[in-house]
């Protein structure tokens, strides 16, 4: 088992170790008794983050992204100057261990991954907040050696990822009446 973990440890941009000490494990584990559901923002536009299982301790991890309209918006929706939807995002992870080394960082990127923005480092409760103003987007959580707020794109391994509900808007052919697309392949829950 430890050999496999060591092998996985080389996938990232840096090496990290996993302790088998019960005391240390307890100190870094955050395993809530229930999976948190979205409490803010429209449930419909919330989405799940799916583990890559690339990082030890994340095999059972779950995560959610809540997307809400800022209370400062004078309108019921919030738009970017080009008319794209803008949301306040809140990322939360559960059922995983905080890394012994490095930082979990949340990013938001377009579905083409041609633009990436750093949301921020997850806090001790494995949560982070940020904003997005793209109509379709992917939220990615990576394990980074750096905690540089100016980092332009991720360098470490992807820990969790999920696509905005708007990403489910494919062509009508893709979702034809007699066809069921395997959306799980895109990282959706179902």
């Amino acid at each position: 088992m430890l050999q496999i973990l060591a092998l996985l440890g080389t996938i990232g941009a840096f090496d990290y170790s996993v302790t088998s000490s019960p005391a240390e494990t307890k100190a870094h584990e955050i395993i809530p008794t229930h999976i948190e559901l979205c409490t803010v923002g429209p449930q419909y536009y919330a989405f799940e983050l799916v583990t890559t299982k690339n990082i030890p301790g994340t095999g059972l991890a779950t995560g959610q992204v809540q997307a809400s309209v800022s209370g400062n918006s004078p309108f019921s929706v919030q738009l970017a100057p080009d008319g794209s939807y803008a949301y306040d995002l809140h990322v939360s992870l559960q059922r995983m261990r905080a890394p012994l080394q490095g930082n979990l960082v949340a990013w938001v990127t377009t579905t083409e991954i041609d633009r990436i923005e750093r949301m921020g480092t997850l806090d001790a409760n494995l949560q982070a907040s940020g904003r997005v103003s793209w109509n379709k987007y992917i939220v990615v959580v990576t394990l980074e050696s750096s905690d540089d707020p100016h980092q332009e794109q991720w360098a470490g391994p992807i820990v969790m990822r999920g696509m905005s509900r708007s990403g489910m808007m494919h062509t009508m052919v893709g979702h034809g009446a007699l066809q069921e697309e395997n959306c799980a392949a895109y990282g959706y829950g179902n």
Partner: protein, 531 residues
């Protein structure tokens, strides 16, 4: 293209092909065009809106009649208030009562609803509830008391999908006695935003017995400001223009942008905001109003535009779309700098802050009533049902464009029922029976169900009262303003606090004209004395 029953094919975006099985299909209702037996040349040409300042107890006569108009090169028979487009801009001082005698000279019964005014119930203009509709050659006299300063509007409450679309709308500007009610501006402009659906022969017919476009509402393909398709204006460098925006479209929500000009939102339906706020655009749904100050800093041309991310369902993508509403030429001549500088100050409206403060204590409590919005369809064309049901994995918060023109056109109020449902009782639309007392602060929670046959945003309008949007999806509103209409996006939950200040029988409904006529309405009672 002529089709059966006198219908013409709805204009289609060639990027969105017609569904198989819909070739030759037409709505199940007949087509309606005004004045079909009349030579347009015999009708008076409509004139631009005139300003009508009125004092307390002054009387204005309004005739509702057919007019001749030319839009985008097409001469058409339309309707007008006093032969004008929009109708006369009525100005009245706050707390005045004005008398408006309305004579109906069109072929349909009509009324006038004084939108947003906390009016005496008898004059609210709802046929069957507050008055009988005004038949042809009949008159009705409205006494309109205007208790709140701001921009309001008037329109029919009979087949709005037809009459409003044909030009029956106008503004009512209620002026405050406070000369500093708004901050300094060099000038003011009225912008009545509308769209109309036309093809190469002019306006597409409306539904005779009931509305077409019942699924999404009738989106136009030609944009208008104050009834014009080529609106232009000239300003000086640094000039601050106060725009009074009103959306009178049947269904379209506009996202109004002013290029890179600095802009701040000042007021909305029934009051000013607690605080002026810098914004980059104004999202304005049907029936909403916004007051926005815009400063044009750089010489050149600025396009005032509807800037949206439209949806192409067939390609499954968003795409940017911009319609120019007005072209502003900014000269290099400098405007008075004192006013330009004053724009920088974001004013707090302390009287609004004081007035809404007591209502904040209601934000955290459970709602008094809960509503959900949904839709039921029956006997729709099978191709429409199949394609709609297969495209249900994502519904956008807002429909900015008609992304399915033919399916939408073919759906009528005979086949589509839009629903407001009381969560507690299960009562729907006119089955809902709510009763309140004057002085009640009623918290309503309204949820727009995303898993219905065709979820869509709804501009929810409450007659005769004013309300606050306390929160959207649990996020408290930080800058309150009194409203009479507010957008409920798909999937969202909106908490509103309604101040029951005005006794009578009042309507609550979606202000997408086709949704209203497809059932999405009910009335409630406000008693002025305990029973």
């Amino acid at each position: 293209m002529m089709m059966s029953g006198g219908w013409r094919m709805v204009p289609m975006d060639m990027n969105m092909p017609m569904l198989p099985g819909l070739e030759g299909a037409v709505p199940v209702v007949g087509p309606f065009m005004p004045g079909t037996m009349i030579d347009p040349a015999t009708l008076p040409e409509a004139r631009p809106s005139l300003v009508v300042p009125l004092s307390n107890m002054d009387t204005l006569d309004i005739s509702v009649s057919m007019v001749r108009r030319t839009i985008a090169g097409h001469e058409m028979i339309m309707f007008g208030y006093n032969g004008q487009y929009p109708g006369p801009l009525i100005q009245a001082p706050q707390n005045a009562t004005i008398i408006v005698r309305v004579k109906n000279e069109i072929e349909m019964p009509t009324t006038i609803h004084w939108h947003g005014i906390r009016i005496d119930n008898r004059f609210d203009g709802v046929p069957g509830l507050t008055q009988e509709a005004i038949g042809r050659d009949e008159t009705f006299t409205y006494e309109v008391r205007v208790p709140d300063a701001g921009m309001y509007w008037y329109h029919p409450h009979v087949r709005e999908d037809v009459q409003q679309d044909l030009g029956l709308y106008g503004n009512l500007l209620v002026t405050s006695p406070d000369p500093n009610y708004y901050g300094p501006a060099h000038r003011e402009e009225i912008f009545v935003l509308d769209d109309i659906l036309i093809d190469d022969q002019g306006a597409l017919p409306w539904g005779e017995e009931s509305p077409t476009h019942a699924l999404m509402g009738r989106f136009g393909n030609v944009m208008m400001v104050n009834g014009k398709t080529d609106h232009q204006m000239e300003v000086r460098q640094g000039e601050v223009v106060r725009f009074h925006l009103t959306n009178v479209a049947n269904s379209r929500t506009f996202n109004v942008t002013f290029g890179n000009a600095a802009m701040k939102v000042v007021a909305s339906d029934v009051s000013r905001f607690e605080r002026e706020q810098l914004v980059t655009s104004i999202v304005i749904a049907p029936a909403e109003r916004y007051v926005v100050d815009v400063r044009f800093d750089k010489p050149g041309e600025v396009a005032i535009a509807n800037t949206i991310q439209a949806i192409n369902h067939f390609r499954g993508e968003f795409y940017p779309h911009v319609d120019t509403l007005s072209l502003v030429t900014v000269s290099d001549q400098n405007a008075d700098s004192e006013v330009s500088m004053a724009f920088e100050t974001l004013r707090e409206h302390s009287d609004v802050v004081r007035e809404v403060r007591p209502l904040r204590e209601h934000f955290g409590r459970e709602p008094d009533h809960e509503l959900v919005t949904t839709v039921r369809v029956q006997n729709l064309h099978q191709s429409i049902v199949l394609s709609m049901e297969s495209d249900t994995l994502y519904a956008a918060p807002m429909e900015w464009n008609d992304a399915m023109p033919m399916m939408n056109w073919l759906s009528t109020a005979d086949e589509v029922t839009w629903i407001l449902e009381d969560v507690t009782t299960g009562a729907q639309n006119d089955e809902i029976d709510w009763s309140f007392q004057v002085g009640d602060i009623v918290k309503m929670r309204i949820h727009n169900k995303p898993d219905s046959f065709h979820p869509m945003n709804h501009p929810i309008h409450i007659h005769g009262q004013r309300f606050l949007v306390a929160s959207i999806d649990g996020v408290e509103n930080q800058n309150l303003v009194w409203k009479d209409t507010a957008i409920l996006p798909v999937g969202s939950t909106m908490d509103v606090l309604v101040e029951m200040s005005n006794p009578g029988e009042w309507m609550m409904h979606c202000h997408i004209a086709e949704h209203l006529h497809a059932g999405m309405m009910f009335s409630f009672t406000v008693n002025d004395q305990a029973p």
